[in-house]
Structures are given as structure tokens and as C-alpha cells.
């Protein structure tokens, strides 16, 4: 099989984005068909790749990557075009393909008069996020990571309400500051890789994992001790800031509520669905493997910030009156769970984080779509102006109910599996974290039910009497998401089975355990989900 499938995952959206420029702007039906066609093709390829992954040969080295493609890029400095897929990036890539397909489907031709512009940017974003997930070379990864901001900037600043410009700029400057520090860290890793004789340094991830920088003492600039941290720890902070801003972890979250509030649902579906998960992905893929010592050193702080995100997001969600902001803060709380799972540095925690990344992508996409549908019909997002919609919108009521239950972590729903597994990991780290995170679960029940009851129950307000239920197309958009929430709740094994070996590798590198995944007893770490 010589087809460069992984390259196709990046090239198809870019190619279609270019092709779209030849289609007249007024041909909206054709533009939408082409956009959906391209994203669907990518989705088919990705799922076929995932399905065949277990049987495909894996590369050696610290990470067993499948379907590797490798070509020289800047040979003089050891940067290569190196793509690969493993259990972690595989599932994220599937989520990626899914949310962009959803985004392509979610935009109605009436929603915007700039459909071609939207389609172009959506496809370019998909290519960039796909590239982030596929690269196995740090410079290539950075290229996609930072390049992703370009289409995102135009998307977020052109579609949405009147505050979008300010909110987008805040987001972009936040993330650019973070990622440029990561660039400095990448360069430092490159120059400080501990080389054997005759070796030249490389940006390849596996190479840098195998050639960690020699541990150095605390940073001292001639005579003055400027920091108690070692250079490795400072370099890790560079990476951690970039990822923490992207997730975001409190206190780096301030860009999120405003931006989510001002963005339209058809952008949020993939923006909230995958972009914020890339921070979590970065922590697992690069934080755990490149910085075993620093992440072990900082895990207490990072886990504490994750717990803070859970509690803070939940409390804010409880106090907000704008339904979109409630969902935005709920998102911060959920992302805190994902972060907590990662920073527990245990097999369970990281496994749970991956499951929860997928779950959260599904749930948040559904919730933002629902909020968007309600806003489009009622013209308001104020919780106190809305009530009793259940009578007018029975179909939405049902779908929203499932999403609510999934959002609050009801057993039998998908996020229960993830949160439970994360809690296991958090408990292994320290019981305090698990208890506090448990408090977050209770708060989640509160704010999700407050949202659901406030919108759906109680007598209906007179102004809302004429509200219509969702159309068939909208129901078809939500149904697969809702079905997945239930399906992954009762049968989460597909995610776990594929991700487990990879997680074992990452965790063993991070904790300095035996790097051979076969001996680290994956059965001990496999979450036994309620069936």
C-alpha cells in the first residue's frame, strides 16, 4: 500500500479550499456540497485507517506509529516531513474529522452570505488541525500548530456577533504568546539534545525522546541565580503555557467565555470540538514524553490548577444567566477533568482523559448546536426569559435531555466512563484531588439541570408560544451525536482498546517505568466500564 493516506488527510481539505476559489460565490449549493464532500471523504479515510490500524505494521522507537510517512524537509537542520498515527492521535483525528464534517453540515445556506469564505476557512482549519495531530516532527508540529491560527483568526473574526473582533484578537494574542514561547523551547531542546559521537540533532520527536538533554543545574547567569528551576523545567513551562492556554486551564481561560459567546454555533462545533482538545493532546504527546522529570515535578501544581478549573468553571456556570456562557463555563469545567486525568500521570488518568476528549467533543458540539437552535428561534439567550420550551419543542426536549444527562456524567452515558476513569487516576495521585473533582461532578449535576429545567420546564412564557420545534435536518444533525453519547456510554471499548497501548507507552516514558508497553500490564489499567 503506497498511498500516502496521512498526507491525503491534510491535502484533500487544502486542495478543496483552493478549488472552491474557482466556484462562483453565488453557487452556494455547490459550495456546500463540495465542502461536505471533502470533509466526508477525509472522515471515511480516517475511520478506515483506524479500523485497519491494529493490523498494520507499527514503527519501532519510543512511540509505535502506524502508517508512517517520512521525507526530508530541511535536511541541513534535521527537520523532516514525518507523519504517523498512534492510538492517541488516531482517536483525536477521528474526532477532528467528525467535528469538521459536522461543521460543514451545520452551516445552513441562509446562516451566512459568505459561504465560500466560510468553507475555505473551515477546510484550511481542518488541514491544520489534522497536521497537528499527524506530525511526528517538532518543527512540523509547530508549523501546523501556529498555522492553524490563520484560518481560525479569519473565521472567528468574520462570523459572529459584534464583539467578535475584540474577543478573537484576545484569543490570538494569548495563543501566539504561548506558542512562541513553545517555539523557543523547541529550539532549546534541539540544541541541547544529548548527542552521541557523530550524531547531528534532529527535530524528530522520537529522536528527541531518545536523546534527552543532559540534566543541568538551576539556571545561573554569571554569578546571579535568576531561577530555582532547571533549564529543562523552564523549557517545559514554555510548552505547558502554550498547551494550558489552548485547553484552557484556569487562570489562562479568560479568552474563552467571551469568544464562545460571540461565535456562531457552526463555528463553535469544531472550534470548541477539536481546537481546545489540541492543548490536551499536546500535554500527552509532548509533555509526557519529552519532559518526564519536569512534569513529575510540576504535576502537583498542574493537577491543582486542573481541579481549580473544574470547580471554577462549574461555579461560573451556576452563576451565569446567558445560556451560551453557561455552556462555555461548563466546557472549562469539563476540560479541567481532562487536564486532571493527564496530570495524574497514571494509566487510568490518561486513558480517561482520551475517552473524555472524545466525549467532550461530542457533548459540547451538541450543546452549542442546541443553544444555537434555541437562540435562532427565540431571539434571546437569557435564561430568565426562556422557559417551558418542552411544550413547543418536544423533539429538541428529548435530544437535549440526553445531552444534559451526558453532560452531567450520568452512569450509562459516555462522560461517566471518562470521568470515572479520570477519578481513578486522580485517586492514585492523591485522594484530595479526587474528592475535589468529585465536588465538580456534583456541581455539574446542578448547573446542567438548572440549564435544562430553566429552558424546558415550568409554564411557557407567552412570547414563546409561537416557537417551532426543530426541523428534520436539525434533528438529523443532532441525532448521531446523541446516539454516540449513549453508545460510548455503554460500550466504550473501541476507544480504550486502540488508545491503551499508546497510553501505556506515554505513561511509562513519563514515569520512567519500563518503556516496553507489553510488560506494563495494560489489563490493570483498562477501565472496566459499566455495561
Amino acid at each position: 500500500m503506497n498511498v500516502p493516506w496521512l498526507t491525503l488527510v491534510i491535502v484533500i481539505p487544502v486542495g478543496m479550499a483552493i478549488l472552491l476559489q474557482l466556484v462562483p460565490r453565488s453557487q452556494t449549493a455547490l459550495i456546500k456540497a463540495l465542502m461536505v464532500g471533502a470533509t466526508a471523504t477525509v472522515a471515511v479515510i480516517v475511520f478506515a485507517l483506524l479500523y485497519n490500524m491494529a493490523g498494520s505494521p507499527a514503527g519501532g522507537g519510543p512511540l509505535s506509529l502506524h502508517y508512517q510517512e517520512r521525507h526530508d524537509w530541511i535536511p541541513a537542520i534535521g527537520a523532516s516531513y514525518h507523519l504517523g498515527l498512534d492510538g492517541l492521535s488516531g482517536w483525536l483525528l477521528a474526532l477532528n474529522a467528525g467535528v469538521f464534517l459536522l461543521g460543514a453540515l451545520a452551516v445552513s445556506r441562509r446562516a451566512t452570505d459568505r459561504l465560500r469564505f466560510y468553507a475555505t476557512l473551515l477546510l484550511l482549519t481542518e488541514a491544520a488541525t489534522g497536521g497537528v495531530l499527524l506530525s511526528a516532527d517538532l518543527l512540523l508540529f509547530y508549523l501546523f500548530w501556529e498555522g492553524m491560527l490563520i484560518p481560525l483568526y479569519f473565521l472567528l473574526s468574520n462570523f459572529g456577533d459584534e464583539n467578535r473582533g475584540r474577543n478573537t484578537l484576545k484569543f490570538v494574542i494569548y495563543t501566539v504568546a504561548g506558542s512562541l514561547l513553545m517555539l523557543a523551547s523547541i529550539i532549546w531542546l534541539y540544541f541541547n539534545a544529548h548527542l552521541g559521537t557523530g550524531e547531528t540533532s534532529s527535530f524528530d520527536l522520537a529522536f528527541l525522546i531518545n536523546h534527552p538533554s543532559a540534566s543541568q543545574a538551576a539556571l545561573v547567569i554569571p554569578g546571579v541565580k535568576i531561577s530555582t528551576f532547571t533549564p529543562q523545567q523552564l523549557v517545559f513551562i514554555g510548552f505547558a503555557l502554550a498547551f494550558a492556554i489552548k485547553i484552557p486551564i484556569v487562570p489562562f481561560h479568560t479568552w474563552l467565555p467571551g469568544l464562545y459567546e460571540s461565535s456562531p454555533p457552526f463555528v463553535l462545533v469544531f472550534f470548541a470540538g477539536i481546537v481546545s482538545k489540541l492543548g490536551a493532546y499536546g500535554f500527552i504527546r509532548y509533555g509526557l514524553t519529552l519532559f518526564p522529570q519536569p512534569i513529575g515535578y510540576f504535576k502537583w501544581v498542574l493537577a491543582a490548577l486542573a481541579v481549580l478549573s473544574i470547580i471554577y468553571g462549574a461555579l461560573m456556570a451556576l452563576s451565569e444567566r446567558d445560556i451560551k456562557r453557561i455552556v462555555a463555563y461548563a466546557s472549562i469545567s469539563h476540560l479541567g477533568f481532562i487536564a486532571l486525568g493527564i496530570f495524574s500521570l497514571t494509566q487510568n488518568g490518561v486513558n480517561g482523559a482520551i475517552i473524555q476528549i472524545i466525549n467532550h467533543g461530542i457533548i459540547i458540539a451538541a450543546l452549542f448546536l442546541i443553544v444555537g437552535m434555541i437562540e435562532a428561534r427565540t431571539g434571546t439567550r437569557e435564561l430568565h426569559e426562556l422557559s417551558g420550551l418542552e411544550k413547543r419543542m418536544p423533539w429538541l426536549y428529548f435530544l437535549f435531555l440526553v445531552a444534559t444527562l451526558a453532560g452531567l456524567g450520568m452512569p450509562g452515558m459516555n462522560s461517566f466512563v471518562g470521568e470515572f476513569t479520570i477519578m481513578l487516576g486522580a485517586f492514585q495521585l492523591n485522594w484530595i484531588y479526587a474528592v475535589l473533582a468529585g465536588g465538580g461532578v456534583i456541581l455539574a449535576c446542578w448547573y446542567m439541570l438548572r440549564l435544562h429545567q430553566g429552558l424546558m420546564h415550568d409554564p411557557i412564557k407567552p412570547v414563546l408560544e409561537r416557537v417551532r420545534d426543530i426541523r428534520l435536518g436539525e434533528a438529523l444533525l443532532l441525532s448521531p451525536l446523541v446516539a454516540l453519547m449513549v453508545f460510548l456510554g455503554v460500550y466504550p471499548r473501541p476507544v480504550g482498546d486502540l488508545a491503551n497501548p499508546s497510553v501505556a507507552q506515554y505513561v511509562s516514558i513519563a514515569t520512567g517505568a519500563n518503556p516496553n508497553p507489553s510488560s506494563s500490564a495494560p489489563s490493570a489499567g483498562t477501565p472496566q466500564a459499566p455495561q
Binding site: P75, F117, G147, I187
Partner: protein, 509 residues
């Protein structure tokens, strides 16, 4: 190589090989005379022919430089060590000639629209380019000065080219006064260096400084070195010697601004690297602090001042000041590390292609009789000229250092050089200011994609002509190619660095 430079033969006629080594400069010089002569005979409606002649001569000089690239091999000197015939100067020549050619292509249309299409324009552009190429290859303090004066005097005239426009006249006068001031600094510095080392040849000066290194360095040499640096800092518009830049860039006709904003910087940096990194490496510890300081200030002042601008040309002027700061990082790193020079070369090429593109958009979109200068003139461009707006967006992103564009790798290599040599704080400072710069680049980029308000008059953008299309397509392609197929230019820059004369200190890595 050193032996060759060390023994200066007394009064020997230069050989034909020496003359051949100057072929690119000679071609442009001849074309200069030809253009002046043609201008006397051509009817004023046929002035575009002058542009064709100028373009052909630039292409011929480019061809000669490419031949020189292969012919010069590991490099030698011409005219008894006064001029370098090495790949470094050919590399810089290539950037300069391509930039000038692009400017020549967009000029006729713009000048006609502004009503200032005079024949000497092209001759002056060629004269200035010749000066820059001489500066890039200069191996003697006197030749450096000659090059700087030739390029500057042509530019003084060019910036005042819009004779009826007060701002253009003001720009020319300001540039002349401050430029003369800078030349004074440079000359004074050269005099001090000559006085202390007894040489004007760079190779000899370098050797003398190496010999002096064992004893203590004379403070007068250091003063000379710093004054020379100040002279160059004026030309590259680094803070605190930048004050002329915004006014001159804004006042000069946009096609001239396009030309000078790129080529002056390229040539001055080329000479700066040759003089400081390769001639003064033995007093590196003394000048490194000054260069770093100027770099830090340029990044700070350029980016902060650009934030508050509402004029496109002024914003790009301050952005150019900030970019000079980033390039200076590559100069400030340890001379023994090749990556610094490679980074400077890569950055210059990336800056040239990007900045020409950005200014070309302002030039070709200019309305009749007025310059497209204010931010509001760009509002809604994407709806009327989608391809031009997309190209401008790409240039702004490249200036901001976003991958996958040329600007990213320019920054990447200089930051990498800084981190490699332990100047990490300098790189971090560059990173912090880059994050600030994103704000004003993206603000302009976004403006093009916003609909104009109902009552707001849309700017009367001129139609995209064939020549404008060619230039924008070329610069767009260049910005992307340098951002994706990095190895192409990196290998060339690396080859240019490895044969750089004068080779006094051994460089590694």
C-alpha cells in the same frame, strides 16, 4: 586567502578578471548611462519603454550574478582586496536585483497615475541598486562609503520625486539631512578605525585586531567600531536612529518606499554582517552589547509605535524598524556560529519578498492622484479584490511571523541562533514583541474582510493590471515557497555564508 590579502602589490594594473568580477555592477552602470541618453530622445508617452530597458538590464545583472555564484566558488577578492567576489555578495545581489526588478515592474502604472512619470526615475533606481551591490561586496572602508553614498544620493532624489507634493519634498530634505549626519558618523568611525589599525582593507583591519587582541584593545578602536555601527544603524533604521523612517516612508512616492524599505536594509545589513561578524570578531565582546541593546530597543519601539498608527505606510515603516531589530539578533550572536549569518540572510530574503509584496499592494491599489495610505482605505477590499486582499493578508501574516510563510523561518533561524549561543533572553524578548506585533498586522488584515459601513465611501481602488498581477503572484509564491520549501534557500544561504570574506576567524556550526 589571507596571504593574498596580506601582500598588497604596489601599483599594478587590475586584471581583466577583476573587471569581470564586477560584471553585475558594470551592467547596471552601463544601463544607467543608456537610460539617461534614451530619456532625452524618447517621447514622454513612451516612458514605459525605459522601464523595459531597466528591467532587461536588471535581469542581465541577475544572470551575471548567478554566473558569479558558480564562478566565484570559495571566493576571492578583486582589486587587491578592495572588493569581494564571493557567494555572499552574489546572494545579496540576487535579493537586490529581484527586488529592484519587481519595483520596476509596478512603477510605470503607479507613476502615471500619480502624474510623476519622469524618465530619470529608472536611472536613479539602477544607480541606487548599483550602490547597494557595491556596498554588499565592499571589502574596503572607502568602498563601503562609496557604496553608501551612491545608494543614498539616488534615494534622496527619489524620495523627493513627487515634486509638487510638499510631503515628498519634506521627506527628501529630512532624509538628506539625517542621511548626511549618518554618513558623518560612519566616516568618523572609519577614520578612527583606520587611525588605530593603519588599514582600510577589511582583511587587514581584522588581522590587526586579532594581533591586538593579545594586548588590551585600544578604546579609540572601540569608539570607531561603535561609530561605524551607528552609521549602519541609520541605514537599517534601527532605534534610536530611526526617526527619519516613518516620515520619509510616508512622504516618498509609494513605489520609492517599496524600493528603499527593502533594498537599503538588505544592502546595509549585508555590509554590517561583513564588517562586524567577519572583520571585527576579535572585539566581539565589546560590540555585542551595543548591537543587542539596539536590537532590543528596535523591537520594542518599532512594535509599540506601530500599534498606534492609522497610516499603512507609517505602520509598515515602524514594522520595518521592528524587523531590523529581529535581524540584528542574527548579527549580535557569536561570530563563530554560522547560523547567525544564515539567519540574517534568510530573514533578509524573506523580508524582501514579503515587504515588497505588502508595499506593492499599496502601490497598485493607489487611486488616481492620491496614495492609498489610511487604514480605512483598505476596508472591504476583500469583497472587491479578493485575490489582492488574500495576498495582502498573506504578507501581513508573514511579517507577523506566522508559519507557513517566509517570515516565520526568518524569525526561526535568528531566534535559533540566539538560543544556540546563549542569548536566550534576546530571543525571548523577540518573542514577546512578536506577540505584540500580531495585533497590528492582524488588525489591518481583518479590515480588508470587513464590509464598509452603509454611509462609508468605498475607496476607489485601481484595477489590478497585468504588471501588478505578476508582481503580486511572484511575491505571494515567494512568501509561500520560502515558508514551505525551506531547504532551497537555506542551502543557498549556508553556501553563501561558508565562503564569506574576509575569513579571519574560523567559524563552526
Amino acid at each position: 586567502m589571507l596571504a593574498q590579502a596580506a601582500t598588497i602589490p604596489a601599483l599594478v594594473t587590475p586584471t581583466g578578471r577583476d573587471l569581470l568580477g564586477l560584471l553585475p555592477e558594470l551592467i547596471l552602470g552601463a544601463a544607467f548611462v543608456l537610460l539617461m541618453a534614451l530619456d532625452a530622445f524618447l517621447p514622454s508617452t513612451r516612458r514605459s519603454w525605459l522601464a523595459v530597458v531597466a528591467f532587461i538590464s536588471l535581469a542581465a545583472a541577475f544572470g551575471a550574478s548567478m554566473w558569479g555564484w558558480f564562478d566565484s566558488g570559495s571566493g576571492r577578492t578583486l582589486y587587491f582586496g578592495a572588493f569581494a567576489y564571493d557567494r555572499y555578495s552574489m546572494f545579496v545581489n540576487a535579493i537586490l536585483l529581484v527586488s529592484s526588478a519587481l519595483v520596476v515592474i509596478i512603477s510605470p502604472q503607479y507613476l502615471n497615475r500619480r502624474g510623476i512619470h519622469h524618465g530619470e526615475y529608472y536611472a536613479l533606481i539602477l544607480a541606487s541598486t548599483t550602490g547597494m551591490m557595491i556596498l554588499a561586496g565592499a571589502m574596503n572602508l572607502m568602498v563601503i562609503f562609496l557604496g553608501i553614498e551612491l545608494l543614498s544620493i539616488s534615494l534622496y532624489v527619489l524620495s523627493g520625486f513627487s515634486r509638487g507634493d510638499e510631503r515628498s519634498q519634506e521627506a527628501a530634505l529630512k532624509y538628506l539631512l539625517l542621511g548626511g549626519f549618518a554618513s558623518g558618523f560612519l566616516l568618523y568611525g572609519m577614520a578612527l578605525v583606520y587611525g588605530e589599525t593603519g588599514h582600510t582593507q577589511l582583511a587587514q583591519i581584522g588581522l590587526a585586531l586579532r594581533a591586538a587582541q593579545t594586548s588590551s584593545v585600544d578604546p579609540l578602536v572601540l569608539v570607531g567600531v561603535i561609530l561605524v555601527f551607528i552609521g549602519f544603524a541609520f541605514k537599517v533604521s534601527a532605534v534610536p536612529f530611526h526617526t527619519w523612517t516613518p516620515d520619509v516612508y510616508q512622504g516618498a512616492p509609494t513605489s520609492v518606499t517599496t524600493f528603499m524599505s527593502v533594498t537599503t536594509k538588505v544592502a546595509a545589513f549585508a555590509a554590517l554582517v561583513r564588517v562586524f561578524t567577519y572583520t571585527f570578531p576579535y572585539v566581539y565582546t565589546h560590540w555585542q552589547v551595543i548591537v543587542s541593546l539596539v536590537a532590543i530597543l528596535s523591537m520594542l519601539v518599532g512594535n509599540i509605535a506601530a500599534l498606534t498608527q492609522t497610516s499603512l505606510k507609517r505602520m509598515l515603516a515602524y514594522s520595518g524598524i521592528a524587523q531590523a531589530g529581529y535581524i540584528l539578533i542574527g548579527v549580535a550572536v557569536d561570530p563563530r556560529v554560522a547560523l547567525g549569518t544564515i539567519g540574517v540572510l534568510y530573514y533578509l530574503a524573506a523580508y524582501a519578498v514579503t515587504n515588497i509584496g505588502a508595499f506593492a499592494v499599496i502601490t497598485v491599489m493607489a487611486g488616481r492622484g492620491e496614495d492609498l495610505d489610511s487604514y480605512s482605505g483598505l476596508r472591504g477590499l476583500a469583497f472587491r479584490r479578493p485575490y489582492v486582499a488574500a495576498a495582502m493578508g498573506l504578507f501581513l501574516l508573514s511579517l507577523g511571523g506566522f508559519p507557513p510563510t517566509a517570515g516565520f523561518f526568518g524569525k526561526f533561524f535568528v531566534f535559533a541562533a540566539a538560543i544556540k549561543t546563549g542569548l536566550t533572553p534576546l530571543a525571548i524578548w523577540g518573542i514577546v514583541t512578536s506577540a505584540v506585533s500580531v495585533f497590528y498586522y492582524l488588525r489591518v488584515a481583518l479590515l480588508m474582510y470587513q464590509r464598509p459601513a452603509e454611509d462609508e465611501r468605498e475607496y476607489a481602488w485601481s484595477r489590478t493590471s497585468l504588471s501588478a498581477g505578476i508582481v503580486l503572484a511572484a511575491t505571494t509564491a515567494g512568501t509561500l515557497v520560502l515558508g514551505i520549501f525551506v531547504f532551497l534557500l537555506y542551502n543557498a544561504a549556508s553556501a553563501a555564508q561558508s565562503g564569506l570574506l574576509p575569513a579571519i576567524a574560523s567559524s563552526s556550526g
